[in-house]
């Protein structure tokens, strides 16, 4: 038997109690109310699927109660019970939004059938709205994914094109500098000014190069390239990149790192992206005056890196979902819901794990465990995109 949550509202005690008894035998244990006011207070405290509602009651009458219900609980279905031959009440009830009406004296089986029909309608509606929501979410996700992909391609393209002229400027400046340092040039007037100008050009090139290389690093989607990585330097770099954001929110980023134990064999660009993701999340979650602490420690053959924030924390029901693609608590348009999904993908690709601990109001802490040396399980070179498709398939399965 389906677990139908039912409420009977009728001022006739005998009728109500008998009905309740018979329904209980059929597996539906109903709530009971002898008047409209009581009915509304029950609805206030308990989710109810179906209300069997008598029209003629002292005090608040059935139509009034129905109006209230439809306004406040639009998903709740109402079956109207009208007096003998009072078709007018029934019609008015349906106009107000009742599922159907039955005239007293009612036949139990008839009412039971109506209850089931009403419940089926509720189920259909729920499924429809779930489907609509799912479709809407999917469409949004597609748009986001496409946007991200094209943004990445564009950024990479621009960065690549800029690198070539940048290289020309770089070589030209370097050449001029060499000439300027020749013996025969020792006595030329305003030599220092020329040197100063060249120096600035070189610094500018360096800055532009860092930007283009970072852009290209972000856009990268390839397999990890393993190299010796100094985690401390990488963390410094990531902190440097998000520092302005942190300063704007008056969030302090603290580092507790053991300098001797920060070398791992991993992919620096992927790891940098992970750090930036975690730091950006932390900054978003943390209010003014808060702190984010990055802790680095070596445990056996592993490196543990923890990013802890003093922010608002993650509600229990969200903890399981935060690594899912497109799960976000940010307002629409602000978060992609991809940050932690990508982060977890990267960490697993690198042979590590990521875990989260959080309690509401007490901040959150993300711990990454990375092997010091390469250790990739075979089943982990599965394509991230395939995993994503699997995820979608599972999601649509869980929608009945």
């Amino acid at each position: 038997m389906k677990n139908i949550r039912l409420l009977i509202v009728d001022d006739e005690d005998d009728f109500r109690k008998t009905l309740a008894k018979r329904l209980t035998k059929k597996g539906i244990v109903p709530e009971q109310a002898e008047n409209g006011r009581k009915a509304l207070s029950i609805l206030e405290n308990k989710p109810i699927d179906i209300v069997v509602l008598d029209v003629k009651m002292p005090g608040m009458n059935g139509i009034e109660v129905l109006n209230h219900i439809k306004k406040k609980y639009p998903k709740t279905e109402v079956i109207f019970l009208t007096g003998h031959a009072a078709t007018q009440d029934g019609v008015e009830g349906i106009k107000t939004g009742a599922f159907d009406y039955l005239s007293k004296p009612i036949e139990f089986e008839h009412l039971f059938g109506k209850i089931n029909q009403a419940y089926e309608k509720i189920e259909r509606e729920e499924e429809k709205s779930r489907e609509a929501e799912f479709r809407k979410r999917m469409e949004e996700q597609m748009v986001t994914t496409e946007k991200l992909a094209s943004l990445g391609t564009l950024a990479a393209g621009v960065a690549h094109e800029i690198n070539n002229p940048l290289a020309i400027i770089n070589e030209s400046a370097g050449w001029l500098k060499l000439i300027l340092n020749k013996e025969e040039m020792a006595g030329i007037p305003r030599k220092q000014d020329l040197e100063k100008g060249l120096d600035k050009i070189e610094k500018g090139i360096d800055r532009a190069r860092r930007i283009t290389h970072q852009l290209l690093g972000f856009a990268k989607k390839d397999d990890p390239i393993f190299a010796e990585v100094n985690l401390r330097e990488l963390v410094d770099e990531a902190v440097h990149l998000v520092n302005r954001e942190a300063a704007n929110k008056d969030v302090e980023i603290m580092r507790e790192m053991d300098p001797d134990k920060s070398i791992v064999w991993s992919d620096p660009y992927l790891l940098r992206q992970v750090f930036i993701n975690l730091l950006t999340n932390g900054i978003y979650a943390t209010g003014a005056g808060g702190t984010i602490t990055i802790r680095l420690e070596a445990v056996g053959g592993e490196i543990n890196l923890t990013v802890r924030d003093s922010g608002k924390g993650i509600p229990k029901e969200n903890l399981k979902k935060i690594f899912e693609p497109f799960f976000t608590t940010k307002p629409p348009g602000e978060g992609t819901g991809l940050g932690l999904f990508v982060t977890r993908g990267i960490i697993e690709k690198l042979g590590g794990t990521i875990a989260v601990e959080s309690r509401l109001g007490q901040g959150a802490s993300f711990t990454i465990k990375l092997p010091k040396y390469r250790k990739i399980k075979e089943n982990q070179d599965q394509d991230e995109r395939i995993r994503f498709l699997d995820h979608l398939a599972n999601q649509s399965k869980s929608v009945p």
Partner: protein, 152 residues
């Protein structure tokens, strides 16, 4: 110590870049040849004695990797340094598996370039030295040790 100039061949379709980098290297005393495509680079290698090739990966027509394969096939002792954009690091790694000495990101840091250039040239010298010694030994064995004092 007097610097022994390296004989460098610069291969890149970006003409301004080739011109400026070659001026810079020449200013430092290196001997520089230039080529603006993979094919032109191979032709140059055919006629000119070269120690190290600085080779751009992204070129129209014959790309850097194809050129590298050809170089390694026809001039195995010539060392190659790949020039790459950041996004094509994978290609650079592939290049090294094919026998390139190292790679540089564009725009390259000049001290990096100098270090790698020096390293490449040194490797070529050492390799040639080993070959000379091996040949000498071979000669000694063939001649029954007659010249052994003079060669080993």
């Amino acid at each position: 110590m007097i610097k022994i100039p390296a004989k460098v061949l610069l291969v890149d379709d970006e003409e301004d870049f080739v011109e400026m980098l070659s001026l810079r290297l020449k200013e430092l005393g290196e001997k520089v040849s230039v080529a603006y495509s993979g094919q032109e680079g191979l032709d140059t290698l055919e006629n000119t004695h070269i120690d190290v090739v600085i080779l751009d990966i992204k070129m129209p027509g014959m790309d850097g990797i194809q050129t590298l394969r050809e170089i390694k096939k026809r001039f195995p002792l010539v060392e190659v340094i790949m020039l790459t954009g950041h996004g094509s690091t994978e290609t650079a790694v592939e290049g090294m598996k094919l026998g390139a000495f190292d790679y540089l990101l564009k725009p390259a840091d000049f001290s990096d370039l100098s270090t790698k250039l020096e390293g490449a040239r040194k490797r070529k010298d050492e390799q040639e030295e080993r070959i000379r010694k091996a040949e000498a030994k071979l000669l000694v064995r063939r001649s029954g040790g007659f010249f052994s004092d003079r060669f080993v």
